[in-house]
């Protein structure tokens, strides 16, 4: 069913990761992304892997959920890994059979690429999508972008557009499902027939969906006007975000991870090189 799609899905919870301030989480994620791309030695990848595993365990998100979230990138993951293994032509020759030649560097690059992608996807989804509600997340983004308002960037409007978009994803999904059922009940066949036929079947969903999206937009605009909405100026928040002591600790920790990764890059011995004989 359509609802099964984990589209940046939030899992309510009470773990230490859930409690981190959204702004801190966004900065942490950015720092960790930089760390992932800076990392080059085996030690730094090991550190990143341990850090992301710890963050995941602390969030108390089930392993199943994480795996489900990784599913869409399985193809990319396998493809890049195989590409590295078979097309790298440096290092010592390990396997030479028919047209297949596997070099030591190929395996090392493949491992690094694999860890890089896994760490990247799992930390961003655990830190941001699984443990932060979309509304809090937009608040966080708005908070971080506030300085831009000084140079006349309509930060509040951006944030509003984003939170409305996020708010209506489940509504529109639900509506899509309902319209699809209604059209199925009239004999629409979405899964068989020629391409032309299927495109026509989808038309029966898109037209009513578009009409209802426009209807929602007008209704929401009217409702906001009726409640006296007049843009971001002078607007206060019910739940003000507080940057607490612990959030600083988390930021410092992620900065420490970045520093650690950079330092470990300079360690002359690389465990991966040792294992694959160089």
């Amino acid at each position: 069913m359509i609802r099964d799609i984990t589209l940046g899905q939030y899992f309510p919870g009470n773990s230490p990761i859930h409690k981190i301030d959204a702004r801190a989480k966004i900065i942490m994620t950015l720092i960790l992304i930089v760390a992932v791309f800076v990392a080059s030695s085996g030690f730094s990848f090991a550190l990143l892997f341990i850090v992301s595993a710890t963050v995941f365990l602390m969030s108390r998100i089930s392993f199943k959920t994480l795996v489900k979230g990784l599913k869409p990138i399985v193809f990319v993951l396998i493809f890049t890994t195989l590409f590295q293994i078979f097309f790298t032509r440096t290092g010592t020759l390990l396997v030479d059979w028919w047209i297949i030649k596997i070099y030591s560097n190929g395996i090392i690059y493949a491992i690094k690429m694999f860890v890089r992608i896994i760490v990247l996807i799992s930390t961003t989804s655990v830190l941001v999508s699984y443990t932060t509600s979309p509304i809090v997340l937009t608040d966080g983004i708005e908070g971080l972008m506030t300085p831009l308002a000084k140079i006349k960037v309509p930060v509040h409007d951006f944030a509003l557009v984003m939170s409305i978009a996020l708010r209506f994803i489940p509504t529109l999904l639900e509506e899509t499902e309902k319209i699809m059922s209604a059209q199925k009940a009239r004999g629409t066949d979405f899964s068989t027939g020629s391409l032309m036929k299927r495109a026509r079947a989808l038309l029966a969903v898109f037209v009513p969906l578009l009409a209802s999206a426009v209807r929602h937009a007008f209704e929401l605009a009217d409702a906001m006007i009726c409640r006296g909405y007049r843009g971001g100026k002078g607007r206060t928040k019910l739940n003000k975000m507080k940057f607490r002591f612990f959030d600083f600790i988390w930021l410092l920790l992620s900065a420490a991870v970045l520093a650690g990764v950079i330092l470990l890059n300079y360690v002359p011995i690389d465990p991966l090189n040792m294992i694959f004989g160089q």
Binding site: A182, Q183, A185, G187, V207, S212
Partner: protein, 288 residues
């Protein structure tokens, strides 16, 4: 042959944090050639039942029989069930999409693969039945009024000439006149064709006025099913479930407390009016 539910269970979002059991081992029979009313509080599983009847939902447990056949047994016949059990969703006007009302009504019959002239006949019949004139048939479904759109959507299902017709809140959001109009037309249609019709509604008045048999649902189960007299005999129990007897029945009950006696149980305003008039006529006769 009736629609039969045998030990049917259905759960929404199984194995997610949002799991919700809508139906639990439900047994239910929808009889032939009558109008069945399905009533119950929000969340009692009315719409779920509707979508189980035509095979849009597959029960987690148990079997749904239509015409004596398990509708989920043969995947290839899935489409046939949609045509056999016509389902009008809640607010069906939002599913219209063709360029004209006429084409939209023809959409279902076209999917059935009927010949052109048969489609034409069905569209004309269905439109005439719901009261859409030739003038609005050529208009875009986005250009006609809400009430007209509702009619067009219902006509779209009726044009498939299903053996069973299920309507989820067909009168929701209509004005009293549109409400009476659509429901009495449905009753007329049922009497003329002899198909079985299921009406899902929140309104006890509508149930009393248009249904032959009523099924009252409570949270994941059936509370009671039977004739109007059987259902409305226990107003206290109904009230406990957030439902009530028709207003006129309440009023007649009060009148009886004051010493006015009615010859029969009263469920509709029309019946009450008739009886009161009779009483006035049959009193001492001086009034006329």
């Amino acid at each position: 042959m009736p629609i039969i539910f045998e030990n049917v269970s259905y759960t929404y979002g199984a194995n997610t944090p949002f799991e919700h059991k809508a139906l639990d081992k439900l047994n239910l029979i929808i009889n032939d050639n009558e109008i069945t009313g399905l009533i119950g509080q929000t969340g009692s599983g009315k719409s779920t039942i509707a979508q189980l009847c035509n095979g849009l939902y597959k029960p987690d447990e148990g079997t749904v029989y239509v015409d004596g056949v398990d509708i989920n047994a043969d995947k290839k016949k899935k489409k046939e069930n949609f045509f056999k059990v016509g389902l009008v969703f809640q607010y069906p006007e939002y599913q219209l999409f063709e360029d004209t009302v006429e084409h939209d009504i023809a959409y279902g019959p076209k999917n059935m693969g009927l010949p052109e002239d048969e489609i034409k006949r069905r569209v004309t019949d269905a439109a005439a039945f719901v009261g859409l004139d030739a003038h609005s048939l050529v208009k875009s479904p986005f250009d006609i009024s809400g009430g007209q759109r509702r009619r067009a959507a219902i006509a779209g299902i009726i044009a498939m000439e299903p053996k069973y017709l299920i309507l989820d809140e067909p009168a929701a959001g209509l004005d009293p006149m549109g409400r009476d109009d659509i429901l009495s037309k449905l009753k007329e249609y049922q009497r003329k064709t002899g198909i079985s019709v299921v009406i899902i509604s929140h309104s006890m008045e509508d149930m009393a006025k248009y249904c032959d048999r009523i099924i009252v649902l409570r949270q994941n189960g059936i509370y009671k099913c039977g004739s109007k007299a059987e259902i409305f005999s226990d107003p206290t129990a109904l009230r406990e479930m957030g439902l009530s007897v028709p207003q006129i029945t309440k009023m007649v009950y009060c009148a009886e407390q004051l010493g006015v006696s009615f010859e029969r149980p009263i469920y509709t305003v029309d019946a009450a009016f008739e009886d009161v008039m009779k009483m006035l006529d049959g009193g001492d006769g001086n009034d006329t």
